[in-house]
């Protein structure tokens, strides 16, 4: 088994890792990050996530989002520091960096402070806190970069399919919108107007929205013409049962959650919650029968998916365990100022998260493929049958591979 794991295969449609595995792995890292404020451990987590992303991401558009998440993480740290600088921090400290003039606030705003003393301890605490949030974001960004969001949504149950399509369409619209904005800003330049600045961005807003609206209408037409929304005939009894199960189940989930959280109802809370969940899932399953859709090559959850998701969960579990074992090492104090120490065993635990960089299938690098296929398409005029009807020789030879078109058609016809 180890030999099979060691040589990770090239990612093709059939060997590709289940998108859910990447999300479990990333959420595991995020959980671990939420359990510590040790900057060295957090840095290690970022490093692990970054290394795996670098080793296993594709050239797909969503894979480029990792950089954006990194920047977002830095922004979060920055904002946290600015707030701590301007609004002060509840952390007592002795090392004063600067003293800002304090804004006098009215009586009712007591407890809020603007300006005043800025201490090194307060800033350090804010940095630790911001770094924790930033790491969480970066872990989510890693999942986003590694797993195709569309494939993840394909794994949704049939009844949720429509919601999934809405999300996929929205996500493919975002890049189109960005491209539209860029194009229209460039067009402003052609009109002799400045193409930079907020004003330029605002003025292209309306044309961009108009374009998006037009595009969604034509997409809706295309989807309709391609059979989107075909429904199967379901007996009325089944429809009623579906409705009853879904509604009742959701009510049960609400009541059960309330029971669990309230002081008094802990006894009946859990059973009601579970019964509600079962009913709701039953409703979803029955609802799926109304949809005639089938699924093309769904992702399979194989050994590698277990390993990848397991490594993430292991990181989370080890960190939680370390938290009860040696909480001090995971939360270095900001007061008094001390250099944080890297706790050895939790750090080793974090390194388990590197496993996907070795077991996940290798992605295809699209760069080579692109150049190759571009040349191929251009160098193929020989495959084009001559313009004279009656001698499509090349065409016929290639079509032989497919079975006779008439017979399977009638047999497989969906009605």
């Amino acid at each position: 088994m180890s030999a099979r794991v060691a040589g990770a295969p090239r990612a093709t449609r059939s060997t590709a890792l289940h998108a859910g595995a990447w999300w479990l792995w990333a959420l595991g890292l995020a959980t671990a990050a939420s359990r510590t404020t040790n900057p060295l451990l957090l840095g290690l987590l970022i490093g692990v996530a970054g290394y795996v992303v670098a080793a296993r991401r594709t050239d797909a558009p969503w894979a480029r989002s990792y950089g954006a998440f990194l920047k977002l993480g830095l922004l979060v740290i920055g904002i946290r520091l600015v707030f701590a600088f301007l609004l002060g921090s509840p952390i007592p400290g002795t090392h004063t960096l600067v003293t800002l003039p304090e804004v006098p606030l009215p009586e009712w705003a007591r407890g809020v402070r603007i300006g005043g003393r800025v201490t090194a301890e307060g800033m350090l605490f804010a940095f630790y806190d911001g770094l924790k949030l930033g790491t969480l974001l970066i872990c989510v960004g890693a999942a986003n970069a590694l797993a195709s969001p569309a494939r993840l949504l394909k794994s949704l149950p049939g009844a949720l399919y429509e919601a999934g399509v809405a999300v996929v369409v929205a996500m493919s619209f975002a890049p189109h919108l960005v491209a539209d904005v860029q194009r229209l800003r460039a067009a402003r330049r052609l009109r002799g107007r400045p193409d930079r600045g907020v004003k330029a961005l605002l003025q292209v807003g309306l044309p961009v929205l108009e374009g998006a609206l037009e595009r969604s209408v034509s997409l809706a037409a295309a989807m309709d013409a391609r059979g989107y929304g075909r429904t199967a005939q379901v007996p009325p009894a089944v429809r009623h049962i579906t409705t009853a199960l879904t509604l009742g189940g959701l009510l049960g989930v609400c009541a059960g959650t309330y029971g669990l959280l309230a002081d008094t109802g802990a006894a009946y809370g859990l059973p009601v919650l579970l019964a509600g969940l079962v009913a709701a899932l039953g409703g979803l399953w029955l609802g799926g029968r109304r949809s005639v859709r089938s699924r093309y090559r769904p992702d399979r959850w194989g050994l590698r998916a277990w390993l990848v998701s397991g490594s993430g969960i292991a990181v989370a579990a080890l960190m939680i365990w370390a938290n009860s074992y040696d909480p001090a090492a995971l939360h270095p104090p900001a007061v008094p100022l001390t250099a944080p120490v890297l706790p050895l065993w939790p750090a080793a635990g974090v390194l388990v998260g590197l496993l996907p960089a070795f077991v996940a299938p290798l992605p295809m690098r699209a760069a080579g493929a692109e150049a190759g296929s571009g040349a191929g398409a251009a160098a193929e005029p020989g495959a084009v049958p001559g313009p004279v009807p009656g001698e499509p020789g090349a065409g016929r030879a290639r079509v032989r591979k497919s079975p006779a078109p008439g017979a399977p058609h009638t047999k497989e016809s969906p009605q």
Partner: protein, 614 residues
């Protein structure tokens, strides 16, 4: 297979029906071509077949449309999805998923086919359309021709009996268009699919059609018949048909091959005659790459109007033919004078940049060893190009060869990674938009991008303001280009050709000496294209340098003095139109293929010569 029974369609609040009296039958296994000028309701007819009209678009449909026995009144588009496959004008608007393989499977998933059937059909379709290498690619990374093939493939997997296509080759380069047409041929011949398609570029498709449906005018009933019969009377027809009509060949040839077999006598008659009359290519017959179409008067003394006019009149090739050239010159006479003054005074920067050898007009733009990198791709690699005043250059090459990048580099949207680019003496990427406006103007691929206002009048006022031109300048240009457009019209309500003319007027308001056009004939019918040709010839005769990126070989043949062919960001050919275009099978216009080895490019050239020799 498709039956229209006295169909008329009236949209929402329209007074007149969009189409009426449509009564026709398309038998199974035919490739049927729907032709007609813009705005006669071709798309309405196509969408009535797949049920989008009236279920999706609204409006009232009278009569009856049946497809494979199903009445579209009682069947919604989604219930016709297994018998009709529809691909619209813009393949990108058609895609629901993000990779090729998922897209091919999408329609089958909607129909609920079994997984093993889906898998097999996807593999078959990948082979049939030559998409196997692209199966895992993200759709947005594909070229135009590849996207069009994926769009066709995505509706083929459900094994429809009818395929409906709206302008499948209009946005494609000649080679990609051949790819798509080859696929359609194969479907009709081998799978017995019925294909109904609308297309403006008839020269690409008409020879493949079994039947042609002509919608002659808005609201007029369609004329149905064999391709040769319809082409004999059609207001829209490809150059090979125009040549056939001119030479009174019967039956009318539809393909270059048919025409060549009939053309031997015409070739003999034209053998001793020099191509002329059409203008664009004459001055270059022997003189190499530099342009003599430019106006020598501007060179000698740019300030003297009399000189400039005399120069233009003495120039044998500058006009568009006797009648056109004269009218264009009259129309733009006032403007050329202003232009000359402007060149002499307002932009002294352009004066020192003159042709070193003194031949041809002043330099309008020059790139030396220009390289531009976009992302990881070298979009342009060591491109050297000179554009002189009065010269028209066609940039050709397959989709993604770098044509648009070169044009946008000339207006400063991309910074060169190596080499230099000068437009009117300035580096465009370091020049502010307001100054650059006076040196160069670009009409982008989608002219709508240039238009922001909600009426034509507001758009013109904004253009005057942007260009610091006298109020009414732009409106004057619009009136000249589009005589019957109202002030209060919304730019979105204009037809493609009108919108292009409006964008052109907006760009011309600043009187840029260099005018760039990106794919100007996309979506234009032959009449609109003819008007555009007249207009651009007039501008070139006034000393504007024009660069157009185009896939339209017929347009290049009619307009361009020089053709530059780009491939993978490099210039692979640069020379007079007649030399470059005739030597390339992909870029040769139909007339040149028919009359080869004689150097004739366009029908007007031949017509002119025949008149002269008659």
């Amino acid at each position: 297979m498709i039956r229209f029974d006295q169909v008329s369609v009236t949209y929402g609040d329209a007074a007149e029906p969009a189409v009426q009296g449509v009564d026709l039958t398309v038998p199974e296994g035919e490739l049927c071509l729907l032709v007609g000028p813009s705005g006669v309701g071709k798309s309405t007819v196509l969408n009535a077949v797949c049920g989008l009209v009236p279920h999706f678009t609204g409006g009232t449909l009278r009569g009856r449309v049946t497809v494979a026995g199903r009445d579209t009144r009682t069947h919604k588009p989604r219930e016709l999805a297994d018998v009709v496959g529809t691909v619209g004008q813009d393949p990108l608007a058609h895609f629901v998923t993000d990779t090729v393989e998922d897209e091919l499977a999408y329609g089958m998933e909607s129909l609920g086919l079994a997984p093993d059937v889906m898998r097999r059909r996807v593999e078959e379709t990948l082979d049939l359309l030559g998409l196997a290498d692209l199966r895992d690619r993200a759709i947005t990374t594909l070229s135009g021709g590849q996207q069009q093939r994926v769009a066709i493939g995505s509706v083929l997997t459900t094994h429809p009996k009818v395929l409906v296509l709206d302008e499948p080759t209009s946005a494609l380069d000649p080679a990609a268009a051949e790819e798509v047409l080859a696929v359609l041929q194969r479907l009709v011949h081998d799978l017995g699919t019925t294909v109904l398609l609308a297309e403006h570029r008839l020269e690409r498709v008409v020879q493949y059609a079994d039947q042609v449906i002509l919608l002659p005018a808005p609201g007029a009933p369609p004329v149905v018949g064999a391709p040769a019969d319809i082409m004999a009377v059609s207001p829209v027809h490809p150059p090979v048909v125009a040549l056939g009509r001119l030479a009174h060949w019967s039956p009318l040839p539809l393909s270059v091959r048919d025409a060549r077999r009939k053309a031997s006598s015409l070739r003999e008659r034209l053998a001793g005659v020099e191509p002329g009359g059409n203008g664009a290519t004459v001055p270059h017959a022997g003189s190499g790459a530099s342009s003599s179409g430019a106006d020598p008067g501007a060179d000698a003394d740019p300030g003297a109007d009399a000189d400039a006019d005399a120069g233009a009149d003495a120039d044998p090739g500058a006009g568009a033919g006797p009648e056109d050239g004269g009218s264009a010159r009259k129309r733009f006479g006032w403007w050329r004078r202003r232009e000359d003054r402007h060149r002499a005074g307002a932009t002294p920067g352009s004066e020192p940049v003159r042709a070193p050898e003194g031949s041809g007009g002043p330099l309008a733009a020059e790139t030396v060893g220009l390289s531009v990198r976009r992302g990881r791709i070298d979009a342009l690699h060591r491109v050297g190009l000179t554009v002189r005043a009065g010269e028209t250059i066609a940039l050709m090459g397959r989709n993604g060869a770098g044509k648009s990048t070169l044009l946008s580099t000339l207006v400063g949207m991309h910074e060169p990674t190596a080499g230099s680019v000068r437009v009117g003496g300035a580096a465009p990427h370091r020049t502010g938009p307001r100054t650059l406006l006076r040196h160069v103007g670009l009409v982008p691929q989608e002219p709508r991008d240039l238009l922001y206002a909600d009426t034509v009048a507001a758009e013109c006022a904004a253009a005057d303001h942007d260009a610091d031109a006298a109020p009414g300048t732009c409106r004057g240009l619009v009136t000249r280009l589009l005589p019957d457009v109202q002030d209060s019209t919304h730019p979105r309500d204009l037809s493609e050709g009108q919108r292009l003319a409006l964008a052109l007027a907006v760009v011309l308001t600043a009187r840029p000496p260099l005018l760039l056009l990106d794919e100007p004939t996309r979506g234009l019918d032959y009449a609109a294209k003819g008007r555009l040709v007249q207009l651009l010839r007039g501008l070139a005769a006034e000393g504007h340098a024009i660069v157009l990126a185009t896939h339209d070989v017929e347009l290049a043949a009619e307009l361009a003095h020089r053709v530059v062919i780009l491939a993978d960001g490099e210039v692979v050919a640069d020379g007079p139109t007649a030399e470059v275009v005739v030597s390339s099978p992909a870029f040769a216009p139909q007339v040149s293929k028919v009359l080869a080895p004689l150097p004739w490019l366009t029908v007007p050239q031949v017509a002119h010569a025949l008149e002269a020799t008659a």
